[in-house]
């Protein structure tokens, strides 16, 4: 019997269509896998076997009637900041420990033919790059259990890499899909800002957040992206735009600022090998400059906490999520927020409150918004000369659990290649491109806004030939 948990969406779909196995069998294989394997990995916060098997039965009935599309009956895992109606949704926080989602996120409605195996672990409110800031427990990297899976979508990445689901959904604000995908040796896509509706995503930073697929193959990422994208009346920042550009000759941009100090030499080697591959296959390699690269992290660490401080103001224990009592209204807020939020979240709320406060708003937040324009312009100018930009996804290999916990700046610096992309609202994908002593290495491809098609096309070129 083939290992049903090893299949991509495409293979699982073929198996279901050709009736090699039923959806209930497929789902049960994953539930069994999770039961045995997740003790070591801790990818899941909530497992939903009842829901999953109910959905699987429905899928089997549909398949019997011949009503099958590519995602029908495919078991997946959902990051726990995305709402599934009737299922616990914690955002990795104690504040929402007992919170049950009252409605479906739009992307969940769009994936209604899939099977939801459960909700995956994340850094609290998606603030982190290692999954260590979850209020519950850290997730372990399936390639080396002593190491982090990355974050904040660490649970989703680990679940895919450990074959505990066929694919997963994550969210990306500063690299939270791409970096864990890189650390776990899988594919992760952050779509262009606005292509996927954020309705039902517990917000972190509203001008940066995007939901995206985490998958075993680029083809799978494309399938899920096409299913979840689209303008949604419930998200007024969403749109249907799609831009196509014929690529007769592929011009690949290599940003000179991205290959300097601080980049692990093994990662540099692997990414440069990948670039050489493209060159040997008739792509033109162009050195480009993104001159404001040095300021991207500072810009992000003003904008994201500012927006987070506003978005997280709603968590006060009043309408839901009560974790404490208070002597009066203000004390009630104080007690709930103090007990409900973890240290990293508190830190970012305080940072954001400071940067938005009277007297500092202009110096910090407004200034950061202007630097953001400059970063966006850097990419626009680069894309006049090239079609795709290639960079490492992370400057470092997956680190050990506990290694970076004491140094906040060091952790933040690991986002250096990913944050600019969110600031500029561009689409980017991380795909595996090598390994170092068994630890996965990933590279990032960045395309102009709304050109995910080119991203998939060029990523597949590398992937297909390698395999």
């Amino acid at each position: 019997m083939i290992d049903l948990t090893n299949l991509t969406i495409k293979k699982a779909h073929e198996g279901l269509k050709e009736k090699k196995f039923s959806c209930v069998e497929l789902t049960q294989s994953f539930l069994d896998k999770i039961n045995t394997k997740d003790k070591e990995i801790n990818a899941y916060l909530t497992i939903t076997p009842e829901l999953a098997l109910k959905q699987a039965k429905n899928a089997d009935e549909k398949i019997k009637k011949g009503e099958i599309n590519i995602l029908t009956g495919i078991p997946c895992a959902i990051k726990d900041n995305l709402m599934i109606k009737g299922i616990r949704c914690t955002a990795g926080s104690k504040f929402l420990d007992k919170y049950v989602a009252p409605y479906n996120a739009t992307v969940i409605n769009k994936l209604k033919d899939c099977v939801f195996l459960g909700k995956t672990n994340l850094d609290e409110f998606a603030m982190g790059s290692s999954c260590e800031k979850s209020a519950y427990f850290p997730t372990h990297n399936p390639h080396d259990l002593e190491r982090v899976p990355g974050g904040s979508s660490g649970g989703s990445a680990a679940a895919v890499a450990a074959n505990e689901c066929v694919f997963a959904l994550g969210s990306d604000t500063g690299g939270s899909i791409r970096q864990p995908a890189c650390f776990c040796g899988i594919t992760g896509l952050k779509p262009t800002y606005g292509t996927v509706s954020r309705c039902g995503l517990i917000a972190f930073a509203s001008s940066l957040d995007q939901i995206g697929p985490m998958t075993k193959s680029i083809e799978d990422a494309e399938l899920v992206f096409n299913a979840i994208k689209g303008k949604d009346k419930m998200d007024s920042t969403s749109c249907d735009e799609n831009r196509n550009k014929d690529l007769k000759e592929i011009r690949i941009g290599v940003p000179k600022e991205y290959f300097g100090k601080g980049l692990d030499p093994e990662i540099e080697k692997a990414v440069k090998n990948a670039i050489n591959f493209y060159e040997k296959n008739n792509a033109k390699i162009v050195e480009i400059s993104l001159p404001h690269t040095d300021y991207a992290l500072a810009c992000y660490y003003i904008i994201a906490p500012s927006e987070a401080s506003a978005n997280l103001a709603r968590f006060d224990g009043i309408r839901y999520g009560k974790v404490a009592d208070g002597e009066n209204l203000i004390d009630y807020y104080l007690q709930n927020k103090t007990k409900g939020f973890g240290a990293e979240v508190k830190k970012r709320i305080i940072l954001g409150t400071y940067t938005l406060s009277a007297g500092y708003y202009d110096a910090y937040y407004k200034k950061a918004l202007k630097v953001r324009t400059l970063i966006k312009k850097d990419f626009e100018e680069a894309f006049e000369k090239v079609d795709i930009i290639i960079s490492p996804t992370s400057p470092c290999l997956p680190f050990k659990i506990g290694e970076m916990v004491d140094d906040p700046l060091a952790m933040y610096l690991s986002d250096i290649y990913t944050v600019s992309v969110n600031l500029a609202g561009l689409p980017a994908i991380s795909i595996p491109c090598g390994e170092s002593n068994g630890l996965p290495i990933g590279m990032q491809l960045i395309a102009p806004a709304f050109m995910e098609n080119n991203l998939f096309k060029i990523a597949k070129l590398y992937d297909n030939t390698r395999n």
Partner: protein
């Protein structure tokens, strides 16, 4: 300084964590101060990225189910959320 901002955000930082907090906070602020080097004269802000036009819906009442929301409320009376007094005696 941290305690003042924490008060604005309705948070309390524990005495024992305050020192580390101040240190972390200072190092982050020192890092983001980098932006002072950038010349932004004449540059517009990018506050949001999308198709920037106001999106409106028809002004029609939509009735929604409230059971799930009521179930989440910590303190209820009939179908109303019960909270601490917002205005105190001497207001």
């Amino acid at each position: 300084m941290i305690s003042k901002i924490a008060k604005l955000a309705n948070l309390i930082i524990d005495e024992k964590d305050l020192d580390k907090f101040e240190k972390d906070f200072s190092s982050i602020l020192a890092y983001v101060d980098k932006l002072e080097e950038v010349d932004v004269s004449g540059i517009e802000e990018t506050a949001n990225l999308s198709c920037v036009e106001n999106v409106l819906r028809d002004d029609i009442e939509e009735r929604k189910e409230t059971k799930e929301l009521l179930d989440l409320m910590p303190d209820k009376k009939d179908n109303y959320l019960q909270v601490n007094e917002v205005f105190e005696e001497n207001d």
